[in-house]
Amino acid sequence: MEFSFYEFRYAPLSIQIAGIFIVVAIVCTLLAYFSILVGRYRAYRQSERLKKLHPIIDEQLMEHILLNEELASDVPADQVQLPLESFQQPVFEKKWARQALIDRLIHYRNNVRGSMGEQLRNLYIQLDLDKDSLKKMKSRKWERKVQGLAEMSNMNMSIADVTILPLTNSNNRELRAAARHAYIKLSKNEPFKFFDVVTEPLLLWDQVELFKIISTTEHIAIPNFAQWITYSSNKSIVSFCLKLVVHYNQLSAVPAVIRLLDTKDHYVRADAINCLGKMKVEDVEEKLVHMYNSQPLNCRLEILKALGRISSGKYVDFLRQEFLHATDFEVRKHAAKSLINNKWAAKGLIQELIDTATAENKLILKHSMNPLIKF
């Protein structure tokens, strides 16, 4: 051993470095094996624990809440006794078990309504599980904050605006999204107030999540989205509000949407045209046709689609003109589709076009008429 060390000490530098790295590589490899083993063991232990704990929680919840006859007959939750002692077992003093209990309560609360849901919420409060969630919200780690926010909002626990509003503009995307969801769900007065304070663009993902929260939250007061369509300087908020206008078929917002046709941003303009088409606003057809020639391609395609959706039959000649004379393939295709949508007013015309059109145009018409082809 002494001889080897002596040799190593006087070996060239590259060999010395290589020797050190061999040791480092072997140690790292062994550590990696150890970490894999520990990781798997922990996951196994956790799943075994939960396998034992879940039936206990489920049994108690079934017995005292989910199969409770009084709650089933909608006796108010505060008049039914809470089975607190059943959950005051030593196991629930442990953090992981309390977390499992919170998760289970949320799981059941998402699946029941009325008094049962209210009783699950009462249990969450009486067992001081809300304090666990609040503690998470105060954590420095964003993922803990998100978890706390989600638990509070799932349990319909109110959070002060001063705590939550700043989070709706957080730099962290996940935290920002969770705060916005919680705000819409929990804010008693103005659930959409954060639309006024949002400075960053709403990502498409944010829009998907917000859309779900807004459209599925019960007892939410839907405002007139025209206020943001008219006044918001955040284009993504405007675009999102247009989608909500369509979803809620909010006719009172139509004048504000029509005003958007004059906006300089052609993406927003295309969204506005799309919205008007989907809401079948017949009065706007003339304006759309009038502005058509000055529009970029995305807006022109939206105008053609809108004419098809509105299907008033008034602009069949315009559609025919575009179908026959446009140079862009997509324009011709959308003109043909809209013509087919207006076929109640253009039956003879469509037959005439089929008989006289070029081979390519005939193919486009047949494509548009085929019920098996959607786009």
């Binding site: 590259s14 060999i15 490899t29 094996y33 970490s35 798997r40 997509e330 494509h367 098996l372």
Partner: protein, 486 residues
């Protein structure tokens, strides 16, 4: 004269030493970067998000493109697998690239396909499309089959699919690949979550399907391959995707989105000219051209990778087929470097020109050549008795232990985030593989890569051909098992 040889030898040795050191440091950095990316992904990963998107009317549409050439053995099984994908707005386009087997007839019969008058607009030039089919059964309304003249390349087939695609994003996969049911939800997420850049492509981890169990096109049990050659490939895929691509994604320097599974921005792909049918590495070539287009047009772009395994592919089990596959890949890399050499160390192309291209050139293209010359140098030095064997063995041991460590770390990242294998024995089985990789698998890779370069230099004719599928292992049905037992 002796002095000249001695000096040349010293220059070579020092050059290789520097090259090796930079490569090892790069791997170490990638290991750290990938750890950061994988952890960040695991923290953000949330099943509820997928459910939200699944039920959303705002989800962007996606076209799934799968080219098929003589895939009759597995085509029905694979199309069924694609039809089970979870996503609110998607279509599937199978491009039958002039198969000479009964793939098309099988699909027509199984999915009740009828020819339709489809207004096909050839934005990218391809071989002629013969017919386009849609299903008359509403259950298969998402499915479209394009039958075209064989274009002698996967690229030509995919381009035909892109021309017919209705949605703004397309997922390109091979028809022999099995996708996770949430693939589309997972791949579109980075596109929708990116704050400032336009995500032009997203990729995910691929794994080897050979020993996994499937039921009606759905993966039911994941196992490391039992056979040695596919198992080496499994380990290689984990290293390349979980460690390599995830490391690069942190720097927004992903060099390539695998042809097996990738989601692309259709507009950018079309404007970049689509897949190059003359390329043998068409996936990497398209990615390079899309990046080039984005740079030329001042589009702030991003390419993202996710560490989750979303795709399983059948790996070659014989050295002959493996040779064919790797020769093709190497030839594609050489073609790519030659065609886009103007980007090499060109600051105009940002990270693509300053990081990705030099990395690919030095450590992907040149690596087999340097290794080969190193072996020749060793042999010559050995013949002349000029090797200090203890020193040589220490250096060899160093490279060996380091390569085992890097692969083990990749397996560790994969294991800590996603526990795909059910038993610890399977993980142990996989962990043993890197010890043999250095001696048995790596030399094959070097030889096949050199063969690919040779074909590139000599312009040997070759096609994308048939991988000779064996089909996937089906989960035994209880009744069938009982009957077999009797």
């Amino acid at each position: 004269m002796d002095n000249i040889w001695e000096t040349l030898g010293r220059i070579y040795e020092n050059g290789v030493f520097i090259y090796g050191t930079v490569l090892l440091v790069t791997y170490a950095l990638l290991a750290i970067f990938s750890m950061i990316s994988v952890r960040a992904y695991a923290k953000r990963d949330n099943v509820d998000q997928l459910n939200t998107l699944l039920s959303s009317p705002l989800a962007p549409g996606i076209t799934v493109l799968a080219p098929a050439f003589n895939e009759g053995l597995t085509i029905i099984f694979n199309v069924r697998s694609l039809l089970t994908l979870n996503y609110p707005r998607y279509e599937i386009i199978i491009v039958n690239d002039g198969s000479t087997d009964n793939s098309l007839e099988q699909m027509i019969e199984e999915f009740q396909l009828v020819p339709v008058d489809f207004a096909y607009n050839a934005k990218i030039q391809t071989k002629p499309v013969r017919k386009i089919y849609k299903s008359s059964n509403p259950a298969y309304a998402k499915l479209m089959v394009i039958d075209k003249v064989n274009g002698k390349s996967k690229a030509d087939a995919v381009n035909a699919g892109i021309n017919a695609a209705a949605y703004p994003h397309f997922v390109c996969t091979d028809v022999d690949c099995i996708l996770d049911k949430n693939t589309l939800l997972e791949l579109i997420k980075p596109v929708m979550q990116e704050e400032k850049k336009r995500v032009i492509a997203t990729g995910a981890t691929l794994r080897i399907a050979n020993s996994c169990e499937f039921d009606q096109g759905v993966m039911t049990r994941m196992r490391p391959p039992r056979q040695l050659l596919p198992r080496f490939q499994e380990v290689e895929y984990i290293r390349a995707f979980v460690l390599g691509k995830m490391g690069w994604t942190l720097l927004n320097c992903v060099p390539n989105v695998s042809g097996g599974l990738g989601l692309f921005d259709k507009e950018i792909a079309i404007r970049s000219g689509g897949y190059d049918h003359s390329s043998f590495g068409e996936d990497m070539e398209l990615m390079t051209r899309m990046c080039r287009y984005a740079h030329d047009n001042k589009i702030e772009y991003a390419i993202r990778y996710i560490p989750k395994t979303l795709c399983w592919t059948e790996a070659p089990v014989t050295v002959k087929i493996f040779n064919r596959q790797r020769t093709r890949w190497a030839r594609g890399l050489a073609q790519l470097m030659y065609a886009h050499f103007g980007m090499f160390l060109n600051p105009r192309y940002g990270r693509m020109g300053m990081i990705i291209f030099p990395y690919n050139f030095f450590f992907e293209l040149l690596a087999p050549i340097i290794e080969f010359t190193g072996i020749i140098y060793y042999i010559v030095m050995g013949i002349f008795g000029l090797i200090n064997w203890p020193t040589a063995l220490i250096l060899l041991l160093f490279v060996y232990t380091y390569s085992v460590m890097i692969t083990t770390i990749a397996i560790l990242w994969d294991q800590l985030s996603f526990k795909y294998y059910r038993t610890w024995k399977e993980v142990a089985f996989l962990c043993l593989t890197p010890f043999m990789e250095f001696f048995l698998y790596h030399p094959l890779i070097v030889i096949f890569a050199l063969r690919g370069y040779w074909y590139f230099l000599t312009g040997k004719k070759s096609t994308w051909g048939n991988m000779q599928r064996r089909g996937f292992q089906q989960t035994p049905k209880p009744a069938a098992t009982a009957a077999a037992a009797k």
